[in-house]
């Protein structure tokens, strides 16, 4: 790894909260409002870090550990995610296994922490969380397998380098399908519409938000930052497939990637403005559908 391979990590750390700002702005525009400042998430984080905390008597150290483990794991994962064709800080064959594993760890402790409160609402959220993620996992893996087989590479960095080069013209259907699947995974994993509505006000309909109801102060800050990073990383994954970057100038390339990233945020915003959350019973079909799409792509690579 060279100095450049710090770039994806640094960008993720610095810019990821901005994505929420962009998304909210987009939604505000669609709603015809001015909306909150782009940097709102940063302000929130700062504010929360200054605050004290309230803990439920029911809870134990698990509840306090949840956000910390979550953030630590996500930060580690961030070191594994390249951007454009800048390789990630830590890149090795099958590094995506560790990446997915760390996300799993985050989920495990978020869920456990939610259950620690003994609140039925958070239990419900936890239940849905594991339900949906259990279904997204195969889709994600099949997509990764497709990319790996298509490019003959086993590390995210090399996969991106390979897939975003001259390959597009040859096997765009494969990449397109994979991208779609990954996009659904992204929406599901980050609790965005149409899977989950981040800013609903009825706990019964929430998934991710309801799990963190009882967190406050720095813990909540960690949680927000965690989800921002998560969004960024999965976004990077989708972009890695979609952005056809001329292998030439890496900086141009990076610029495209960043543009893509915020474009993605805009798209999410648009999606959230134009469609409503799916009924919970429909969501599994969406996720399984994503898996199916990914499988089709995989089969195409097997020709």
């Amino acid at each position: 790894m060279n100095a450049l391979s710090f770039i994806p990590l640094l960008l993720a750390l610095i810019l990821s909260p901005l994505l929420f700002g962009v998304i909210n702005r987009t939604k505000a525009l669609f709603a015809g409002r001015r909306g909150q400042p782009l940097l709102q998430t940063y302000f929130d984080l700062w504010k929360l870090l200054q605050k004290g905390a309230v803990y439920s008597r029911t809870t134990t150290w698990i509840f306090r550990a949840g956000p910390i483990i979550g953030l630590a794991a996500t930060l580690t994962a961030a070191a594994l995610m390249p951007l454009g064709n800048f390789p990630s800080l830590i890149a090795f064959p099958a590094d995506f296994l560790l990446f997915v594993g760390l996300l799993g760890l985050v989920r495990f402790f978020t869920v456990v922490a939610a259950l620690d409160t003994g609140s039925s609402f958070e239990g419900m959220g936890a239940s849905r969380e594991v339900f949906f993620s259990a279904l997204t996992e195969p889709a994600l893996f099949i997509a990764l397998a497709t990319l790996a087989r298509q490019t003959g590479q086993l590390s995210l960095s090399t996969i991106f380098a390979a897939s975003s080069d001259a390959h597009w013209p040859h096997f765009e259907p494969v990449l397109a399908l994979t991208a779609i699947a990954l996009m659904v995974v992204l929406l599901a994993e980050n609790a965005r519409i149409p899977v989950d509505d981040p800013n609903t006000h009825l706990e019964l309909t929430m998934i991710h938000e309801v799990m963190v109801l009882d967190h406050s102060g720095p813990d909540f800050a960690f949680i927000i930052y965690t989800s921002a990073l998560k969004l960024w990383m999965l976004g990077a994954l989708v972009l890695g497939v979609m952005i056809p970057s001329s292998g030439g100038n890496p900086w141009l390339n990076l610029a495209m990637a960043l543009g893509g990233m915020f474009g993605l945020a805009v798209i999410i915003g648009v999606v959230e403005s134009v469609m409503a959350r799916l009924r919970l019973l429909i969501v599994p079909q969406l996720l399984v559908g994503a898996g199916a799409v990914a499988t089709v792509a995989l089969i195409l690579t097997l020709r």
Binding site: A53, S56, R57, T58, V100, L102, G118, G123, L213, D214
Partner: protein, 662 residues
């Protein structure tokens, strides 16, 4: 080798002494456990030596028994299985001392410890025997001893039922093994494993038959679906330290047998790999799904054994595909992953069963929905159980991740480079293993979260107590094992070299170079893990620093506006798992009994779910009753009428005469 003999001599001696000592003897348990521990220590030394590249040691005594010979050998494969076996035997024994204290005085513990020692002896002999007769005797000894351990609480109907199912299953499995061994013996004209390995089987269809016999025979012990029916019955019925031993290592003797069998059967055709991957996926996915649907903590764990055996089978399948396509990387990663998972599963499943035992010991119930909030009352048990839960979910940085990483890596490496015949099963494996992982997380967040977190769901929990050190220590050691293997993954994987060499018969350097393809990624994984832990520490400090200057209050859980939350309002295990069990209802056949609230002031509302084992209900029960009906047709033979009886005799005579003289 002499050490091994000593170990094997101590066990029966200890057993007999324990059996003969008076039932009121308080040190009886210590004596039984002690002899197991000593035997384990003695046995581990040679095993380690062999694994560190020492030469395999043989020992043959004449044994006055037709076709029998007391021929034992400690080669790397045996050693690899022997090590966890002895370790877990010793730890469970120590745990058992505390666990069995409940029955002290009410019940003579002599027999229990007697059979415990015999079980350990049986497992050792199974792993070491190189003569078919000796192997079978040891195999049956193992089954019989564990049967008596399972039926320790035989005054309970359910336990007796479980014992019956267990012994029947394992014995029918043995029937297939008999056919397997005798067929081999007929082909090679010997009962000697070394001869079998040397000669191998030439005829292909014969090898196929043998393979299937072995899969059924050994698979029954290992718990492959659909031969797994005895696990969910026997494991909950047995005392917890026994469940730990059985689920942790005893079922692995089935895997060992399978691996040993592969060394006899010559070059495998592709379909063997497909069969194993198929079995692995079925066992893995269905195992974890059934686990998700259980309310009984130990039953849940039992189904997870099925799941993990499935994962091991996947590894073996990858390895076999590698052998039949002679691609060393698949061989090494597949078999390596399987072998490593054997050890890992022994550690975390042992740990989890001991934890479940501690919960049972402390609260007197295995019903997940009656528990809750135990973390405050049983901190040690809780922490170790959590470690086990994370490990079995295959999450970094613990050991479960490492072995699954190997299998995944193998599948990916094979998948990206090969043609459909191999790539398709491998990709199926990847998708399946991913699904298994996701479901496992669901299942163990449920198990840990509902049992140890939240508020107590029944007054049973209120006077729960932490277990004493004899039970705590083993759990701690096992938990430490899970962490260490996770953090020293490359080293551990490196130690696979000798055993892989002896299983696959590849050149050492080939093994080494292919192991390297797994070892340097793993070293990065370790770097990641370390980074993670350091960040963790940093964040802890940061948080403490932030909160130091701020107000930190405690209050009731936010009830979304509801002011008087009670423990009974909490989410239960059934409701937690409900979305998934609903989705997979077709596979699970979960039965639901709902009493919806009705009226303005609903008097009652209830939800009962139960998930009986499908293959037990749909396959074996009908099969048995069919055979039963079919055979009861013969009842009229014994009609009670003497004239009829004489008629049979006359008829027999006449028929024979006519048949032979026509």
């Amino acid at each position: 080798m002499t050490l091994l003999l000593f170990a094997m001599a101590i066990l029966p001696l200890g057993a007999v002494v324990v059996l003969l000592s008076s039932r009121s003897d308080r040190n009886l348990s210590w004596f039984g456990a002690g002899s197991v521990v000593i035997a384990a220590v003695l046995g581990c030394i040679p095993a380690v030596q062999v694994l560190l590249g020492g030469a395999a040691v043989q020992l043959r005594f004449p044994w006055s028994m037709p076709f029998g010979e007391f021929f034992i050998e400690l080669d790397p494969l045996s050693a690899w299985f022997l090590l966890p076996t002895l370790l877990l035997s010793a730890l469970s024994a120590v745990y058992g001392v505390g666990y069995m204290r409940t029955w002290q005085g009410r019940r003579s513990l002599g027999p229990s410890w007697f059979f415990y020692c015999l079980l350990v002896l049986g497992m050792m002999l199974v792993l070491l025997a190189r003569n078919a007769v000796l192997f079978l005797i040891a195999w049956e000894l193992m089954a019989l001893a564990s049967f008596f351990l399972v039926t320790f609480e035989h005054e309970r109907e359910s336990v007796r039922e479980a014992g019956w199912i267990y012994l029947v299953a394992t014995h029918l499995g043995t029937a297939f093994l008999l056919a397997f061994f005798l067929l081999l013996a007929r082909e090679t004209g010997s009962m000697d494993f070394t001869v079998w390995a040397a000669k191998g089987v030439q005829a292909h269809e014969l090898a196929g038959i043998l393979f299937l016999l072995a899969v059924v025979g050994f698979g029954t012990k290992a718990g492959f679906m659909p031969f797994h029916v005895w696990l969910p019955e026997a494991h909950p019925a047995a005392p917890s330290h026994v469940s730990a031993l059985m689920s942790g290592v005893m079922i692995k003797t089935g895997i060992y047998g399978l691996l040993r069998a592969f060394t006899f059967l010559g070059a495998p055709p592709l379909w063997w790999g497909w069969v194993l991957i198929g079995i692995g996926l079925t066992s893995g996915v269905l195992g974890v799904l059934f686990a998700l649907a259980q309310h009984d903590l130990k039953r849940l764990l039992a189904y997870h054994s099925v799941e993990n055996i499935g994962i091991i089978a996947l590894g073996l399948g990858v390895g076999l595909l590698g052998v039949s396509t002679s691609s060393p990387v698949l061989i090494v990663l597949g078999f390596g992953g399987a072998l490593l998972h054997v050890v890992n599963h022994a550690l975390f499943k042992g740990l989890l069963f001991l934890g479940a035992g501690a919960v049972l010991h402390g609260t007197g119930t295995r019903e997940i929905d009656h528990l809750g909030g135990l973390l405050k009352r049983m901190p040690w048990t809780a922490v170790t159980f959590l470690i086990g839960a994370v490990a079995i979910s295959g999450l970094p940085p613990l050991n479960g991740f490492v072995s699954e990483f190997l299998i995944f890596l193998g599948a990916f490496k094979g998948g990206i480079s090969t043609g459909g015949a191999i790539a398709v099963p491998l990709f199926a494996l990847i998708a399946g293993l991913a699904l298994i992982g996701g479901l496992a997380v669901a299942c163990f967040t449920k198990a840990f979260g509902i049992v140890f977190l939240g508020e107590p769901r029944s007054e049973r929990v209120l006077h729960a107590h932490e277990v004493d050190w004899t039970m705590r220590l083993p759990m701690l050691i096992l938990a430490a094992g899970c962490v260490l293997i996770g953090l020293f993954a490359p080293v551990v994987v490196g130690s696979l070299k000798t055993v892989l060499k002896s299983v696959t018969g590849l050149q050492p350097e080939i093994v080494t170079e292919n192991l390297a393809t797994a070892m340097n990624p793993l070293s990065f994984v370790v770097i990641g893990a370390v980074a993670f832990l350091m960040l963790l520490a940093l964040l802890v400090l940061l948080r403490r620093d932030l909160l130091a200057r701020r107000r930190v209050e405690t209050d009731v859980t936010w009830g979304c506006g509801y002011v008087q939350p009670t423990a009974r309002m909490q989410y239960t295990a059934s409701s937690f798992a409900q979305p998934l069990t609903d989705l997979f209802r077709p596979l699970l056949g979960t039965k639901k009994k709902v009493t919806l609230p009705s009226g303005i002031f609903p008097p009652e509302a209830a939800l009962k779910t139960m998930t009986p084992d499908v293959s037990h209900e749909e396959m074996y029960r009908p099969m048995f009753s069919r055979v039963n009906e079919w055979l009861s047709q013969l009842r009229w033979l014994q009609h009670g009428n003497v004239q009829l009886y004489v008629l049979y005799i006359a008829a027999t005579l006449i028929v024979l005469l006519v048949w032979k003289f026509r």
